[in-house]
């Protein structure tokens, strides 16, 4: 037990060390030269109005540049809702069966 606990402490310290090292390598906050701010963000900010005609570039990114992504989100919501309804609904058949012999139904469940 004690060995396990020492092992857990060792892993924890190792993970903390990895986190400190990688945190030191992160770009400075609000740094305009960081990788996240130089790749496509500039294009979105500068050309969104001409390319998409939308005055709001959140909408331009969401519905135009990344329209495929939003299609996936909508499908996920639809599928999740469908699955929830299928799970929550009591169908006609099982309800009448439960009235008939509840013991057998209990066994099945």
């Amino acid at each position: 037990m004690k060995v396990l606990r020492m092992g857990a402490l060792f892993v924890l310290l190792l993970m903390a060390e990895v986190m400190f090292i990688s945190a030191g390598a992160l770009p400075q906050l609000y740094d305009p030269q960081s990788a996240a701010a130089t790749h496509v963000a500039d294009r979105y900010i500068e050309d969104a109005v001409e390319e998409t005609g939308s005055p709001n570039f959140v909408t331009a990114v969401l519905a135009d540049y990344r329209g495929y992504d939003t299609l996936g989100e909508t499908t996920v919501i639809f599928t999740a809702g469908l699955a929830t309804v299928l799970l929550l609904r009591v169908s006609k058949g099982s309800a009448s069966k439960r009235e008939g012999d509840s013991a057998a139904e209990e066994e099945q469940v």
């Binding site: 998409t52 005609g53 939308s54 005055p55 709001n56 959140v58 909408t59 969401l62 519905a63 135009d64 329209g67 495929y68 939003t70 299609l71 909508t74 499908t75 919501i77 639809f78 999740a80 809702g81 469908l82 929830t84 309804v85 929550l88 609904r89 009591v90 006609k92 309800a95 009448s96 009235e99």
Partner: protein, 143 residues
């Protein structure tokens, strides 16, 4: 329409809150292209109006959408989104490339129309999904 539904709180909630929530939902949908907002938020607002109406008036609510209709509407909404994409494919563009439509309009108008189309699809899907889940939760056992 002058009959009371219940207590003062229910009456006020129904007569004053629901119309404005619905109006705000439509506003967020239509204005989502140029201001914060969009399909997901508009769908949640419209769904809340229907859910509140169901909570106040029960099964015989004025703004009622039954669970089966809601599921069909959710499917239609998702289909509408995909249909806009396939339509742009048929016109010879890329998937969801709104600028390709053959109508004589400015490019910005074409994009706005395409974005409005998919936002309506998203709104329908989110609204109907929330209503369907609410309906399934409050459904009475069928005999």
């Amino acid at each position: 329409m002058n009959e009371r539904f219940g207590t003062v709180v229910l009456d006020t909630a129904f007569r004053f809150v629901i119309p404005f929530v619905m109006l705000y939902g439509v506003y967020v949908l239509i204005n989502g292209e140029s201001s914060p907002g969009g399909g997901f938020q508009a769908g949640a607002l419209l769904a809340i109006a229907v859910v509140l109406s169901r909570l106040v008036q029960g099964e015989k609510a004025v703004f009622n959408i039954s669970g089966n209709t809601a599921l069909i509407l959710a499917g239609i909404g998702t289909f509408l989104y995909g249909f806009v994409g396939v339509l742009t494919l048929c016109w010879g563009g890329n998937f969801l490339e709104y600028g390709i439509s053959p109508w004589a309009m400015l490019a910005a108008e074409k994009h706005a129309l395409g974005i409005l189309g998919i936002e309506i699809g998203v709104t329908l899907c989110v609204m109907a999904t929330i209503i369907a889940i609410f309906d399934a939760l409050t459904r009475k056992e069928e005999v």
